[in-house]
Symmetry: C2
Subunit: 548 residues, 2 copies
């Protein structure tokens, strides 16, 4: 070991060397969502399920996913995630599961759950770090045989070796993948648990059938498929000119196969037709037939600035696959059991050249243990509500609202306070919409606010993909969606207050009318039948006049 002596430049140089990405993330594993044993379990399952759902979507298969968590020792668990996806070809298995920064999604502008090529390898890495054992993969493609691979990650080289490879002639699936890993973890129920994650995943992926077995369960819990169509595979789009920085533009100019500047602009970008290309080049003072590869930095800079000045339509949004108003409403009604749900969908917008779309749902229940409703005849009905328990999505009326965050149909459970969605909710004036709120805090009330962002590239605040970076365009869109749903909520709450006060008045009437009847009977000497008729007519008259 080096002693505490000073070094010169040559001695320093001798100590400098490359750091492998696996070593980097092993030491910084909290960046990947492996901060503690509880979160490690969730992150592992989440990464595997993301991959399964993505693979099924890409292959056009209705997903059937099996999630199992087995407790091996007090602090050790085995996680199994199995799907009926297309399978993975043999030679890619060590790369996909054992190499960080490897995959197909990073370089494509297409909506998918995974995007970094880190997650599932990180799960294997964490498992190996904490139990000494790398992950086990079973995979079968339609054409190939089922193999069972045991892999071992080599951290210093960021690669994996297959240490066992066994053909399984009788595997029960015709195609699919099974990921199995042992890891140090802890399993708990409640908020932000694996249970919570699976439930939320089922809500926003109604096309998937999910079977979930956790420690302590006798039988797996089944989330049945509710929709029989696979969501369309996200379409891939070309970069939008506004989203490309000067350095990237220079690289594109150097790498392109196009021979002319005008065809370069039209071929390599979306939303650039002959007219827009001409406009850009005129503004930049560059010829349409200039050679892209001969453009100097100063000229590229002119081109870059000309792009910013030219009016170019927003990128196509057919590449986005939102959850949909109906599915959000149904999901919230089913899972939160609220009085009402209001949903808002924004038109697609753009940040750094990436199209995205925001959807918001607000589920709300009137405080108190009864629910008041006005029926079609204008009568108020009072029904008993179920009591609030800790597993309920809708909390008590004096607690902060619950926020459900989703990015490309993946629930985000941690880092809530750093998330653009939360910031947008906090920056909204909820008093206008009938909820209490202190400055700088979430509103208070028996409500759930769901926010979903669909995008070809979600800017997460860390590799763990737990929160969304607060780009101004994203904040703005979330706020606008909240306002739209919020206004509907506000109208409902105000109406609810009117109904409540009305109800109170009516109960007085109901209470006192019989006494009025008796009084009248005594004064006018009416028979019983007539008294009841008078009371009934009085009640009808009063209800008529007070109709809400």
């Amino acid at each position: 070991m080096a002693k505490n002596r000073h070094l010169n430049a040559e001695q320093m140089a001798a100590a400098q060397r490359e750091i492998s990405i696996s070593e980097f993330f092993a030491k910084n594993r909290h960046l990947l969502g492996f901060d503690n044993p509880r979160k490690a379990l969730l992150t592992t399952i989440k990464e595997a399920v993301d991959n399964s759902l993505d693979a099924c979507e890409e292959a056009g298969i209705l997903p059937e996913i099996v999630i199992e968590v087995h407790q091996l020792e007090e602090d050790r668990f085995r996680v199994v995630v199995e799907d009926d996806g297309p399978g993975i070809v043999e030679k890619q298995v060590p790369n996909i599961f054992g190499k960080l920064l490897y995959g197909s999604k990073f370089h494509s502008r297409r909506q998918s759950r995974g995007q970094q090529g880190i997650g599932i390898s990180a799960a294997g890495l964490y498992g190996q770090l904490t139990t000494g054992r790398g992950p086990t993969i079973v995979s079968k493609t339609k054409r190939g045989k089922a193999h069972r691979f045991q892999i071992q990650l080599d951290l210093s080289k960021n690669r994996a070796l297959i240490t066992e490879d066994e053909v399984l002639p009788d595997w029960h699936r015709s195609h699919g993948t099974r990921f199995e890993v042992d890891l140090e973890a802890s399993y708990q129920r409640g908020l932000r648990s694996v249970d919570d994650y699976v439930k939320q995943t089922a809500v926003v992926n109604p096309h998937a059938r999910i079977s979930y077995l956790a420690p302590g369960m006798e039988e797996p819990r089944i989330y049945e498929r509710k929709v029989e169509t696979v969501p369309p595979r996200g379409e891939e789009i070309k970069p939008h000119p506004y989203g490309v920085e000067l350095g990237e533009l220079i690289k594109m100019l150097r790498d392109t196969d196009c021979r002319w500047l005008s065809s370069f602009l039209k071929e390599e970008f979306c939303r650039v037709g002959p007219k827009v290309a001409k406009e850009i080049l005129k503004e930049a003072g560059l010829g349409e037939r200039a050679y892209p590869s001969r453009i100097a930095r100063q000229e590229a800079d002119r081109l870059y600035r000309a792009i910013q000045k030219t009016r170019i339509s927003a990128p196509p949004t057919s590449c986005l696959s939102p959850i949909g108003e109906e599915q959000i409403r149904e999901g919230l009604l089913k899972e939160a059991d609220p009085d009402v749900v209001f949903v808002a969908t924004r038109p697609p917008a753009v940040y750094r050249g990436n199209p995205f779309q925001i959807e918001v749902g607000i589920a709300w229940s009137k405080p108190g243990d009864t629910r008041l409703e006005v029926d079609s005849r204008g009568r108020i009905r009072k029904t008993k509500k179920r009591s609030v328990d800790t597993e309920d999505l809708l909390g008590a009326a004096d607690e902060p609202v619950r926020v459900l965050r989703f990015a490309n149909r993946v629930p985000l459970l941690f880092q809530q306070s750093s998330c653009a969605f939360t910031k947008a909710i906090i920056q909204t004036t909820w008093k206008n919409y009938g909820l209490q709120q202190s400055r700088g805090s979430l509103p208070v009330g028996s409500a759930v606010i769901l926010v979903h962002m669909a995008s070809v590239w979600v800017p997460f605040t860390s590799e763990a993909k737990e929160a969304i970076a607060p780009y101004p365009e994203i904040l703005k869109e979330v706020k606008l969606a909240i306002q739209e749903a919020g206004r509907k909520l506000g109208a409902h709450v105000r109406k609810g207050k009117r109904i409540a006060s009305e109800y109170e008045k009516r109960s007085y009437i109901e209470k006192y009318l019989p006494h009025v009847g008796i009084g009248l009977q005594e004064i006018l000497g009416l028979p019983d039948v007539e008294r009841e008729e008078v009371v009934e007519r009085l009640r009808e008259t009063l209800e008529e006049n007070r109709k809400v």
Copy 2:
């Protein structure tokens, strides 16, 4: 471009490939602190200054650092950071400045500002992305000639090329490095600005002389050196057995040169002597002379569990270099101009095998525009305070306290709410210490709370190194340090309240005593001189009795 069609496993495999770490961070540059133009400027300077200070410390040189920010166009700036450090040998220049994940600090267990081998290359990467131009480096080692290098980063290969190399025979330094980069940025004053960063850096690095020139300044602002000794270079330590996970232990067993298990334990870890090694091996049921390379996973697991069960002393803490109570006090007095400063230093502690140490300073001023002090004779003096302006560290009495966060002497300016330090402050009951506080919020008052963590490995919440991950051990130590300083503050505030009420009483006395004198004079027929004597004696008596 791929159309929206479904793929089979073979087609998917064709699209899968490696992702270069440079491409990854270019797309995710907010992870590195380049979220927006303002932060990009700060991050660039911060990474360069961190490197300069580290290099000087390693070489035992008193740092002399020049920071310049030149505005080239509305949204383009040139940043220059120059030091008198040991310089960088020629062949390492493209690696250090152009390769992400490269350096000497990642693999060493030693306290330093940089630790990842990402920062300065990321600054060059951002510059090149936004202006098309890579960074320019001038460097001279004691033995070599000064060179000026222009480098260009190759993102897809995560490497850099030297595009220009010029010898500068007359460079003005005998050794040192100059880093220069153009970037898209914006420059603002105020909180979390570059100005703020430079000022805070000077406070916690009083051994450095810093010259700082920003847009709009006529002359550079000079922060003079206040201490003439270089802080000792952080000592490198071996891993502590408690901090090593099973997977890592297996790798160490495979890689070691030691022939016996007992020597493996003694040589490769700190704090393991013959007695502890024997105890561990006995607990694990393994022989002292077993060959490390022949230990199977199950045996390694036994060894791992035996380590957890054995009592091993905490890692050495001579490797830590805290700021020091005196320097914290002086820095806060100078920069915040408070009434009082209270400082607390915790003994070193350990998280995941890494030793660390927490220091806390609280600067506080009494609310209001006057300051009350008790002099040595027990008299209360009232002095006028300066008014609060936005550049002041100490805010108004009705605002949240200002938090100054430092990790290994580096100011942390962003992501305050995600930081373990902030969480610890919020979780402290400040009412006990005389400050107002709402639940879940920072305390309110005219106070500054400084927290410093010194460690051989700081667990940041992101590669941008803006906030510290809330490991339980770190949270605990910060809370204990806050409590220690807070108790002193509480005593002072309570005493201050007594002084204030005392002062009020005394002013009444001062006001009415002359009237009492006149009354006595009239009643007793005293001459003027005697009346004044009586009044003076009365005042002294009363002050004597009321002494605080």
